[in-house]
Symmetry: C2
Subunit: 320 residues, 2 copies
DNA sequence: CTGAAAGCGCTTACAG
DNA sequence: CTGAAAGCGCTTACAG
């Protein structure tokens, strides 16, 4: 795993080097570098000169070790294949940048073991906090770290076996809006295309049932787009971008394709065929919200763990 | 910028704490933690016991400071909006994980100032190397860092004003294949939709001209998809996903839409309408290649800077 | 087999 | 206004 050879870098000048070149004590260099008051303009100039001559740049890692914090957050994502996740990242970064943090990032391919390894590695580097799009696995391994003061915010899905903040889209409300819209357009037998288990499916199905109420109309659960034709539905709600894509492929050559509603907007949504409606939400906002919550935790917010739902809205598109 | 309040973490046990609890010297704890030979099974057991009792986890940041390296690379991306970039990231991560590094990541919104700030911040933390999808701005600011031993590999675009490794798709070859294909299908007046300046456009246009040769057929440069109709072309090559999307939107209601070829594959490419062909390349491979090159540099590869082109291939799709 | 000392590059807490 | 000492949490180089 660690097969690096020790590389001989051109030696970097340190504060000690600057001090001896300027003919002052280490502490004086530190004062100048940190802009602390109480240094003669003359001394300051000498130090600044030495810094420039040597091309000195303070080693932030050393400073942070002494300071006790790392000014670093970690972002752990289940997969870079989901288009939304890069947008979540972007939202996190906006906040991170504002507050002077740097971000470790890593992905897990939805494997619990990789997630644990990555999260604990980041904790061993003493990140101040972690934002995680969790795998379905258990998360007790984080308890000791949370106890030790590491902030943890989950995104898109709640974690299992640990109490922590979570920020996600209002899936239930989105599903309700989708089903209501489909019913209004005359659909009475609607398919649901998504994994049989998992948080997303459970929430979406709950929303669907709420919207169906006592209408008597039926919801048909499908695990594969291949079953779309035989299921005899006139519309389908897809749980993810991937499912939406599968439904589109399966319907490409259909004489009467079903009305497709996808959960989550995507870049080419307005130019696919057959046309799709989407339950859109703002993944950038999810990232921002999570990061702001985390920064709040790190700066003293001791209120109980929160669950924040970001609104969804239906973007309906008629058949082209 | 840095408005964090110092948070009181539950004190983390250190090696010193473990040592005193186990009744041994610090160095012995270090030996056990590092699996160094020459410790009695009995002593080992005592130390391990103390570690477990205290919930000790070695502070990697402290270890790395002493060691002189950080086992950290940085990835700087111009934008998370380009779908390919998350895939490049994934490729980098595969290699990073294998070699036991951790990755700082950040985006620049294609702003040179942000890139410089981010890169120098990472360098101040003493990253071992940097992988950068560069903004169009100048990159001399990196010279001192490269001199000091920071490895730098650029991706997707070469940097300006600094010599360094670069990994990118074979844009010219891709454009050649696209134009050749279009000519074979009877197109004689072909549009090019892309920014008027920049590396990508220059390479693509060069490839187009090579393929057109002395055919006498014409290439029409367009900066906006809105000009597509009036330009009187029967086909168009789009320089990026964004341009492809614009071309699709502009052609959605056209009676006779142009044949569209997009540079860069994307998730829904097979279900859009009108249909598009794409010049595909593997962004994951680009990331892997860049990371492997960088790791090579960090482990002693002193050969001159390289330019590596990853192959492209045309995925042709007939009108639906 | 085990440990006391010095040091990575900085900051903190005190003196002068 | 300036500096010598101690320390952040580890490892390195040496002794015993």
């Amino acid at each position: 795993m660690s097969d690096q050879v020790q590389v001989v870098h051109a030696a970097r000048p340190t504060m000690k080097d600057v001090a001896s070149r300027a003919g002052v004590a280490l502490k004086t260099v530190s004062r100048v570098v940190n802009g602390e008051p109480g240094v003669t303009p003359e001394t300051t100039k000498r130090v600044l000169g030495a810094i420039a001559d040597l091309g000195f740049r303070r080693n932030e890692s050393a400073r942070l070790l002494r300071t006790g914090r790392t000014a670093t957050l970690g972002f752990i994502v289940d997969s870079w294949r989901e288009g939304e996740n890069a947008a979540v990242y972007h939202g996190i970064e906006i906040v991170v940048r504002e507050h002077g943090y740097l971000l470790y990032a890593g992905s897990t391919d939805a494997e619990p073991e990789l997630e644990e390894r990555l999260a604990l590695t980041m904790c061993a580097r003493r990140v101040d906090g972690l934002i995680i799009i969790p795998t379905p696995g258990p998360h007790e391994y984080l308890r000791a770290e949370i106890q030790a003061g590491v902030g943890c915010v989950f995104v898109m899905r709640p974690p299992s076996l640990v109490r922590a903040d979570v920020v996600l889209p209002d899936e239930r409300g989105g599903a309700r809006a989708a089903i209501t819209h489909l019913i209004e357009h005359g659909h009475q037998r609607i398919g649901f295309l998504g994994p049989p288990a998992g948080h997303r499916s459970a929430e979406l199905l709950a929303g669907c049932r709420e919207a169906l109420g006592s209408s008597g109309y039926s919801l048909v659960e499908l695990d594969s787009a291949a079953d779309l034709a035989s299921a005899d539905v006139t519309a389908v709600l897809c749980a993810s971008q991937e499912m939406t894509r599968e439904a589109l492929r399966a319907s490409a050559d259909a004489a009467a394709p079903p009305a497709i509603v996808g959960f989550g907007d995507f870049d080419f949504a307005d130019v696919v065929s057959p046309s799709v409606s989407v339950v859109a939400y703002d993944p950038v906002l999810i990232g921002r919200t999570a990061a702001e919550l985390l920064v709040g935790r790190l700066t003293g917010d001791r209120t109980p763990p929160r669950r924040i739902e970001v609104p969804t809205r239906l973007i309906a598109r008629l058949p082209r």
